[in-house]
């Protein structure tokens, strides 16, 4: 439950991605040898500019690549000692890895509760209703929203997407850009709940982000990826103090100059590198 000590060399990774290459439509190579390790119980972040291959990496892990004509052509992915790179998406969920896809992807023509129930699709126990209450404890405002999920605000939809992941009782959640399109205040709230879930539920998190500031603060370890390769990795401190990271990802390292930058922060993030 407690925050594990920061490992420089992850000793007991729950997830190991070993030198994978991913090809879409049999010709477009997107990942060129990506390796990363996620220690059990940690929050690990994967940063990088648009098109670097972050989402592709997550989809390779969760088995969702196949539905986009993508394929892991080299390397392997191991979760809890078991190869998962050749598994179907539904079997990966059953092994305990749950991906919250980019853009929330909630089911808009269903209610929040129906979405949550579907998160528990792979479960057969009788605790599902208790877990819905647990999700409502993390996200109290979801409880009041009884209409269709398509009418929820962006922040509420993100909360629903995270709550739905919790409903699967996964060992690890892969979050793809949870801060996308949220106001700074909401980003803060969502990140603090992600941290809380990690500590209280002991769920390992692999967090893909463009918002390097928040992501690095939430994570124990980080990887930075560009053009389908990992170019840098290190602990939270190492990355926060790295000059390149400061320059390219944290906006010159000066976090106090907020007002003007916040206004343009979305644009700035999209210009990265």
């Amino acid at each position: 439950m407690s925050q594990p000590a920061i490992n420089i060399q992850p000793a007991n990774p729950i997830l190991t991605v070993n030198n994978i290459e991913v090809v879409y439509d049999e010709v477009i190579q997107v990942l060129r040898g990506v390796s990363l390790a996620v220690p059990e119980g940690d929050v690990v972040t994967l940063l990088g500019p648009n098109g670097a291959g972050k989402s592709t990496t997550l989809k390779a892990i969760s088995g969702l690549l196949k539905s986009e004509d993508g394929e892991v052509t080299k390397g392997d992915i191991t979760f809890m000692g078991e190869r998962i790179d050749n598994k179907n998406a539904e079997d990966v969920v059953r092994s305990g890895v749950f991906q919250v896809m980019e853009g929330r992807r909630i089911i808009e023509d269903m209610t929040a509760i129906e979405n949550l129930k579907l998160g528990a699709y792979t479960r057969n126990d009788s605790q599902i209703n208790q877990d819905i209450e647990m999700v409502f404890n993390y996200f109290p405002r979801l409880k009041e929203r009884t209409g269709l999920a398509g009418y929820l605000s962006g922040g509420e939809q993100q909360m629903l997407a995270i709550g739905r992941a919790l409903m699967a009782r996964p060992k690890m959640i892969c979050l793809d850009e949870p801060s996308m399109g949220l106001s700074p205040l909401l980003v803060k709230e969502v990140f603090s709940i992600i941290g809380q879930i990690n500590r209280e539920q002991g769920i390992t998190m692999l967090l893909v982000e463009q918002n390097a500031n928040y992501a690095l603060k939430a994570a124990n370890y980080g990887y930075i990826m560009e053009s389908g390769k990992i170019v840098l990795d290190g602990t939270q401190d190492e990355l926060l103090n790295n000059e390149d990271v400061k320059e390219f990802y944290l906006g010159g390292g000066n976090e106090e100059r907020k007002s003007f930058k916040n206004l343009k922060s979305y644009k700035r993030r999209k210009r990265w590198l």
Partner: protein, 297 residues
């Protein structure tokens, strides 16, 4: 004006319309979850009605036993059909898949003719008395049963999709297949399930019609009749299918009434719904309840 006849025809229209609604719902179910326009929908009724007839006459089973066995048979039939014929077609162009379902339609029609012959057959007698009086109207027992079964199917359908885990999974798949997969839902299973359910429920309608009219190869035209119903309601709306079915059922019978009483054109029963359909689609191209960006065929 002969009000009694008109009333009787409207009631008939509602009873038949509910059956159209059931078949239309099945059509919509397959369309929504697999994006396939199933032109072999009518053959589900045909195959189901013949299979049940065989159980009742060759094997001399009591009606309800034969009925339930037919449903089990048709569930397997639908699932196998999806797995063997349609699953390999996933990812192929829509037009190819449509051609396949048209092919299936012709194939099963011929197969039934080959097995059971071309002459209509009637079901063994199921009810003691032929009809009951309700509110002064003469209602055949078979019609009453038809109504009860149609309504029961609709309620069950609603409950299944609102509350059961598998119903929710099917709706999730209809909404977005990748999202469904990310939740651990097997899309393949959902496809097979939707064909199984469609085949079973349509066959129920086939058996009910068989009880009233006997089984004949013309049963599969029900598939054609359901088209105006679902197109009227909007291809992707279950409620629309029911409303569409009822509308077509009543329209047919009212058209028949005016034709027989005043117009004497003949055949109004069959064509009036299509005229009305044309007019409505003129104003609402996606049907009364349909959403836009739907495949127009």
């Amino acid at each position: 004006m002969n009000f009694e006849l008109l009333m009787q025809l409207i009631v008939n229209g509602i009873i038949v319309g509910l059956l159209y609604g059931v078949v239309g719902m099945c059509f919509v179910l397959v369309y929504k979850s697999t994006q396939i326009v199933n032109f072999a929908q009518g053959e589900f009724l045909l195959v189901g009605a013949w299979v049940c007839w065989a159980f009742l006459t060759y094997f001399q089973l009591p009606f309800f036993m034969g009925f339930i066995l037919t449903m089990v048979f048709m569930a397997l039939f639908g699932v196998l059909l999806q797995m063997v014929v349609l699953r390999p077609m996933i990812g192929e162009p829509i037009i190819s898949v449509i051609m396949i379902t048209i092919g299936l339609s012709i194939f099963f029609q011929s197969l039934m003719k080959w097995i059971f012959g071309v002459s209509p057959q009637s079901y063994p007698k199921v009810f003691e008395s032929e009809s009951v009086q309700i509110l002064g109207l003469n209602i055949e027992m078979a019609y009453l049963m038809s109504t009860v079964i149609s309504l029961a199917i609709m309620v069950a359908f609603f409950l299944f999709f609102k509350y059961s885990k598998y119903g929710l999974a099917m709706r999730a798949t209809a909404f977005n297949q990748q999202i469904a997969q990310s939740l651990g839902i097997s899309v393949k299973q959902v496809f097979a399930m939707s064909w199984g359910i469609a085949a079973t429920l349509s066959a129920t309608a086939g058996v009910v019609i068989g009880l009233v009219n006997g089984v004949s190869n013309s049963l599969s035209t029900m598939g054609v009749k359901v088209f105006p119903a679902v197109i009227l309601g909007g291809l992707d709306s279950v409620v629309g299918a029911i409303v569409g079915g009822l509308t077509i059922g009543v329209l047919e019978n009212v058209a028949e009434f005016f034709d027989s009483q005043y117009l004497h054109v003949g055949n109004m029963y069959d064509i009036a719904p299509f005229y009305v359909l044309l007019i409505i689609l003129w104003f609402k191209p996606y049907g009364l309840f349909g959403t836009k960006d739907i495949e127009r065929i």
